[in-house]
Amino acid sequence: MNKAIIVKEFTEIVRDGRAIILFGIIGLLLLLGLVTSFSSESTRSQTVFDARVADSEVFNAQGVKNPHSAAHFSRMAHKPVAPLSAFDPGVSAYVGQVVWLEGHYRNPAMFRAAEDATELSRLENFSLAGVLTLIIPLLVILLGYGSIAKEREQGTLRQIISSGTSLRGLLLGKFIIVFSISFAFLFFTIVFAAVTSLSVFEASSQPLTDLFLRSISLLFVYGLYTAFVTATTLFISSLVQEAKNSLLILLGLWTVMVVSLPRLSASIAEQVYPSPRSGEFWEAMDVRLSQNRLDSSSAEYAAAERAVIERAFGKKLTENEIENLAINTRGVRLEVSEVIDSEIYTAAYAELFENYANQKNFRRLLSIFSPTIALQHLSQAFSGTDVNAHEHFSDEAERQRNNIVRVLNEEMIINDGGENLRYLAPPEFWETVPEFEYEYPTLELAWRQSGADFFIILAWALFSMVAMFWLGKGRLEV
């Protein structure tokens, strides 16, 4: 009997011109999204690669130069294209693309791609994920709003029930067909996005298994979301008497839960946990840095100096050995201040990202009113385009900065026994400075950080399906 219901529903859908038109529009939007994302991501990937090569070449071509000057010129850390940014660009365009690894300063990432985009993109920007989040629910509503209500209006519901079909079987059959059609769109979109990502990726930077598992994770959570929308649609359809009212209620819910609340939640979160203004942030940083400078005559400072010198020479040294070393003391002082300042920068940036986490947690709280919020968090996390991924990159860039500056300072410490900064490193030295080898955080980290969002969306899906099968069944007046 379920098979008959499914066949019948499928036939009606195929015959419904509106559904075909909507399929066509969604297909076109997804195709447009796929083409533009493939084009932009492959261009970006190539640009990042070229920029990295150019940066390496220019750094290695500095000729004879003082290492401290080189520490100010330094290197750039380029953020690679995220694993599935072709599917969900997330916040990629709104955080910087490259970090200047300058000595003395931990700079924020520069060049947000969104600054070069049209201002209309702030009204709405359809990535593949955006189409699936916004438009697929509309498809489900269109396919399902009249499932029960229209049958009731037309008097066919009574006939179906009297023919021996169980109410649960009827709901299940309608659920299967509506869910399957929507899931087909999800499936092909995510598969094509994953294939696109494969073709633009530097294969060495991301294991294939990680990409595969990310795609499965996305399919899973989007599947849960679609199940929630389908079950809710059928639930509402079974509750109300007229199909028109079912449509109005569902569209109202869509407007609130899918269109309005995600935007509003971000705005409210910003009011509750305001992000620091950059002027205040950098002024506070200057104050903290100056407050944390150690007195050069203190025991703490002496210990820091010893640690720096021992690390430069790669071994423990006695007081006597240190005194007899012909080292550049200016270089030692530079490295000590670098080590101390780096701790302050790390703490300040950790507070900044903690503020972002608080904003995210607040939005998560609001997802009790809209699972779309939780879905967006998960989608970005699995695509590698959320704030956590950027924090990971930022921290790794800082680690590299400390590495580079240490190598440059140690070059001065070891090779120049004077007090000055006139030491000039030979041209071949620059090639010994390590390259930035960045590996994207694993999927495991994304799951750990987004576990709560997953449970929220799972709860919504389960709750709506229970409501559909049990409450809907109880209220199904024929």
Binding site: I25, L29, L32, T36, S40, T43, T47, D50, A51, A54, V58, Q62, G63, K65, M76, H78, V91, A93, Y94, V98, N107, P108, M110, F111, R112, A113, A114, E115, D116, A117, T118, E119, L120, S121, R122, E124, N125, F126, L142, K244, L247, L248, L251, T255, S260, R263, L264, S267, A269, Q271, S275, P276, R277, S278, G279, E283, Y356, K360, Q376, V387
Partner: protein, 455 residues
């Protein structure tokens, strides 16, 4: 209940816009204060140097034009709380200094929540753009379809009631309520947010903003009337109108934006950066040649060989100037791509009222991308002029005088008149108004075809 939610959304939008504007104003004031404090200290040292009584130990860079910083900011327009626009994303203040090449002039951005930026800011203009059409659809879609679906429409017509009169009165009354509530809420927000502000043309600009709201409401009312005039079921009307809303308000803008960016992509900032760094390195490596070239361009220049100014000051100036000059074509490339995209967007404005009104809202509140980019251009231009003025001093290793500094112009943003800013955006509005009139005429004709028998 629906109206309550709608009005709450509008009021919250007003509140969010006000909070954002307050934060921007405070950031600008803080910036001005910081620069003023720094330069007061710098000027004090310079005056001490000029008095030259030898009593104070002055830094070796006292009087160096390289150390001069200018405060620059984009003034906040009177109604900027009504639309956040691009002001949460693009720079609106920054220090202008010869120490930084143009590529790094505004590289330290604001730390707004990236997810908030990605989802788009929320203000009263955004609320109007998204929700006024929905409210109109909810209240007007069944202007006659409710009667038709209940099989009352034929009876109504048979009683001698003029359907056209009835139709237009209902549409007008319902639309008036929605638009009236919108305007009243916006007015209340405007009054509340004006506390502590000078008028400064705020009321006048609000009147302009309101005009666009009324136009927007009128367009959607005409569209709803047109769909309703086909005398189909309420279900049909809702689906069609929602499809139009999704198309004109969501898909249209997103697709236009993607197309514009695909057809006229911006040059890559990473390529710009790579080029700048290459020039910086080459300039440093060939510094004697660069200095010679500068001296040839300034034959009147005498270098003070006994100056206390370290070598790196003039090196830094030369490097920065050379990088700016070499990368000027890339910046021109950015501006050209932006210009072409704007031209294409001008076409799209004719296709969707949301696109047309969105840009007008941003222009009238001074938060458009165009105004921000104009500020960036003017800041770069100001820096270049200052560099021309003081370059010989820096290369000649001479301090500038206190008198010179006090007479040096400060950065002042040159504003385009509001009429000019709105100019190109008004043509699509006029075109869309013609569409409104055409739809009204067609609707009226359609209504004449409805007979009591077919209803």
């Amino acid at each position: 209940m629906v109206f309550l939610v709608f009005v709450s959304t509008l009021i919250y939008g007003g509140f969010a816009g006000q909070a954002e504007r307050g934060a921007r104003k405070s950031a600008i004031e803080n910036h001005d204060r910081t620069v003023s404090t720094k330069m007061s200290g710098w000027l004090k040292d310079l005056r001490a140097l000029e008095q030259d009584d030898g009593s104070t130990d002055l830094p070796s860079l006292t009087g160096s034009a390289m150390d001069v910083i200018f405060a620059s900011s984009l003034p906040q327009e009177p109604l900027s709380d009504f639309s956040i626009g691009q002001s949460d994303l693009l720079p609106f203040f920054g220090e202008i200094s010869l120490k930084n090449p143009n590529i790094r002039l505004f590289s330290k951005y604001e730390f707004a929540d990236p997810i908030g930026l990605a989802l788009g800011n929320f203000d009263i203009s955004k609320a109007v753009l998204l929700f006024v059409p929905l409210m109109l659809i909810i209240f007007c879609f069944d202007v006659t379809s409710a009667d038709r679906d209940s099989r009352r429409l034929g009876l109504i017509m048979l009683q001698g009631i003029n359907l056209r009169n009835l139709f237009w009165k209902r549409i007008f009354f319902r639309a008036l309520i929605v638009i009236g509530v919108t305007c009243a809420s916006a007015f209340a927000v405007m009054i509340y947010n004006s506390q502590g502000l000078a008028d400064d043309g705020r009321f006048a600009i609000f009147a302009v903003w309101m005009t666009f709201v009324v136009f927007y409401g009128a367009f959607w009312s005409a569209l709803i009337a047109f769909v309703a005039s086909f005398n189909r079921s309420g279900e049909f009307n809702v689906l069609t109108l929602l499809g139009l809303w999704v198309g004109l308000t969501l898909i249209g803008p997103a697709t236009s934006s993607s197309l514009a960016e695909a057809l006229y992509p911006s040059p890559s900032r990473l390529t710009y950066l790579a080029e700048a760094r290459e020039v910086e390195n080459e300039t440093r490596l060939s510094e004697p040649d660069v200095v010679n070239e500068f001296m040839l361009d300034h034959p009147e220049l005498l270098v003070d060989v006994e100056s206390q100014f370290p070598d790196y000051v003039s090196s830094s100036f030369l490097v920065t100037s050379t990088v700016d000059e070499a990368t000027a074509p890339i910046i021109a490339g950015f501006e050209e791509a932006l210009g072409r995209r704007e031209e294409l967007m001008d076409v799209f404005r004719y296709l969707s009222p949301a696109i047309a009104v969105h840009s007008l809202f941003n222009e009238v509140t001074g938060t458009s991308g165009r105004r921000h980019n104009s500020y960036l251009m003017q800041a770069r231009g100001f820096k270049a002029n200052y560099a021309k003025l003081v370059g010989p001093n820096i290369i000649g290793r001479k301090p500038i005088s206190a008198e010179f500094f006090e007479n040096a112009p400060e950065f002042e943003f040159k504003e385009e008149p509001l009429g000019m800013r709105l100019g190109s955006g008004l043509k699509p509005i006029i075109f869309l108004l013609l569409i409104v009139f055409s739809l009204t005429i067609i609707t009226n004709r359609q209504l004449g075809k409805i007979s009591p028998v077919s209803s």
